[in-house]
Symmetry: C2
Subunit: 342 residues, 2 copies
DNA sequence: GGTGGCTGAGAAACCGCTTTCTACTCTCGG
DNA sequence: CCGAGAGTAGAAAGCGGTTTCTCAGCCACC
């Protein structure tokens, strides 16, 4: 069989075959395909015609190797099923897509060891990395920084490793939430704690503990980051006689809400519930969830801008710390029997 | 500066540098790194030591080019923010991850033109593709089949293009839903239709229309696939005096639920609501959503198995059509004023 | 002791594209 | 009329791996 015949079934269409078909060198085909330099219009026409006829599509892998960049960025998140991260992901894909970049995603399932491996591997396949709320320790992260660069952090801050950070002021969010609950007369708050590895969980906890003593009683309950965690811990809240729940995130709040409903406990009549993040579901449930709203899609956008700057060796815009906006909805109300109000 | 010195800051560590440092050929380093053939243990030791000392990590891009495979698969979905797709994605990443494959994700935002472009581009960057509920026409899909292969379809079927399909028996799901509602005495059902481009929407609509005449009145309302769509259309349902809502999916059902609640309409007292998919939120809302449960994570797993088989040039397992399981929860109840029951 | 088979490692080709370098042609000015 | 300079396209050297091919060395066997 004549292996030089164009369009032979099994043979992949490479730049060489196009060059051959157009009667030019591979270099010229490359130039035409990239719209580079000035090529004789007639030659360019022949090349384009041949490329179209053969259905030529340059190999992205070969280009990546030659160019030293892949046109892909990776994002690593702790929990693929958390809409919070999905929205960040969405913001990121859209922004990156506009610049012709595609996204590799990896979920660590809250496992630090897996996270470390995934981050390193994902980075090697891409030009850059977005680490979303990484669970690994600061030391470990700092140690990997050189290997991972360029990368940007979302919901995490590690000074001195030269990675841009996009932050949420969890403390401010917590302060707003607590102020809201105190105004409603709540005196005994249960905090449903997130994963101990979560930096934002620590921020929130610190903010709660840092409140002037005597303003309210704080009950700290180990919980987690998912529906099921919130669902499982609700009974304990009741046993502790807290009148308000401050959940690590919206998912946990939903879980608790569901359990309370099962038990016939009225929300907010008997217990108020507050979430964190403001995932899209929060406004559509019954009752709608009071929560600290975090600009999730915006985080994704901003993450891309920082990463894009790094990829182009520009100086990224300075770090931002977003202040969550308290969305007061139906899941919070006056504490039972309380007379205080704002 | 001596460019041959190992570990020189700027210089990337390539296989050549390792070979040089270990005093062997690049071929030998390659063999050692891949655990291939038998290499003199002493040489292998030297290579491993050098690789470790230099922090060598083979370039995935170069490997991809040489091997002709990337170790990545892509998934294209219409809506990145729909938990249904996120769960499929989750199932897929986990299953693929076990075989050392990473995931490229792309969301078409329900735009057919974008979907076509994304699918083609994503495929070129990866070894295979999963098209999740593709919106493009059958002809177009068939036309691209050769370019996209190997790929597998989820929630879509196009006979004769040689792509494995994983299906959900939407008609059966609808039949169960309708039977359930009829038993509760509902006689006027509103169907909140999904995107016209959605094949599963057509399946559901056909199943509804195909019901024996006279069993119930069907009100078809154009809607969409998101919260906001369901939220916006709820008023129309009331105007039409339907006593039950059959929503295109859970998201739409939630939106409608939220709006009904805002309006003070009792669910299921005045209106019953049924979703489709059974996303995790469905069981935790108030009232919990009655819905046709689709094994989302399983779809992801199965998609990987089919794709993996194709990648290995094995024959994939035959297509599967999953039958949804009706999850009766709190959002459905007797039609107002109805005496009928099962 | 010569030869055949076998093992193990290096040389070199190759994957498909980009880009520098080089050679050639053509134009224009002195 | 000749040489400099601009413009164009091809040759070839990468990019960083893998793999075939080749060959040297060793052992065993006749």
């Amino acid at each position: 069989m004549d292996t030089s015949r164009p369009g032979r079934p099994g043979a992949p269409v490479t730049i060489g075959r196009v060059a051959e078909a157009a009667g030019v060198s591979r270099a010229t085909v490359s130039r035409v395909m990239n719209g580079l330099a000035s090529v004789d219009p007639e030659l360019a026409g022949r090349v384009r015609e041949a490329a179209a006829r053969l259905g030529y599509e340059p190999s992205t892998v070969a280009r990546s190797l030659a160019l030293g960049r892949t046109g892909m960025v990776a994002i690593v998140v702790p929990d693929l099923e958390n809409p919070m991260f999905q929205r960040v992901l969405h913001g990121l894909t859209d922004a990156a897509g506009e610049r012709g970049h595609r996204l590799l995603v990896a979920g660590s399932n809250e496992d630090v060891r897996e996270e470390v491996v995934l981050a390193a591997e994902a980075r090697r396949r891409c030009d850059g990395l977005v680490l979303c709320a990484p669970r690994m320790g600061t030391g470990q992260l700092a140690g990997m920084a050189a290997k991972l660069a360029p990368f940007v952090l979302v919901n995490r801050e590690v000074p001195g490793i030269g990675a841009p950070s996009l932050l949420v002021d969890h403390a401010a969010g917590i302060r707003d939430i607590v102020a809201h609950l105190l105004a409603l007369g709540h005196q005994r708050l249960a905090y449903l704690a997130g994963p101990p590895t979560s930096a934002s969980n620590r921020d929130r906890l610190d903010a709660l503990r840092g409140y002037p003593a005597g303003r309210f009683e704080l009950v700290e309950l180990e919980c987690g980051a998912t529906f099921a965690d919130g669902h499982a811990v609700a009974d304990q809240v009741l046993r502790e006689r807290a009148t308000a729940i401050v959940a690590y995130n919206d998912l946990v709040a939903f879980g608790a809400l569901g359990r309370l409903h099962e038990l016939g406990v009225e929300v907010p009549g008997q217990v108020s519930v507050v979430g964190f993040d403001d995932i899209p579901f929060a406004r559509y449930t019954t009752p709608p969830l009071t929560t600290a709203s975090v600009p999730q899609v915006e985080l994704g956008h901003q993450a891309w801008h920082r990463l894009w700057a790094l990829l182009e060796r520009r100086t990224p815009e300075p770090d931002v710390r977003f202040t969550p906006r308290l969305e007061v909805r139906g899941s919070t109300g006056p504490a039972p029997g309380a007379l205080r109000y704002m």
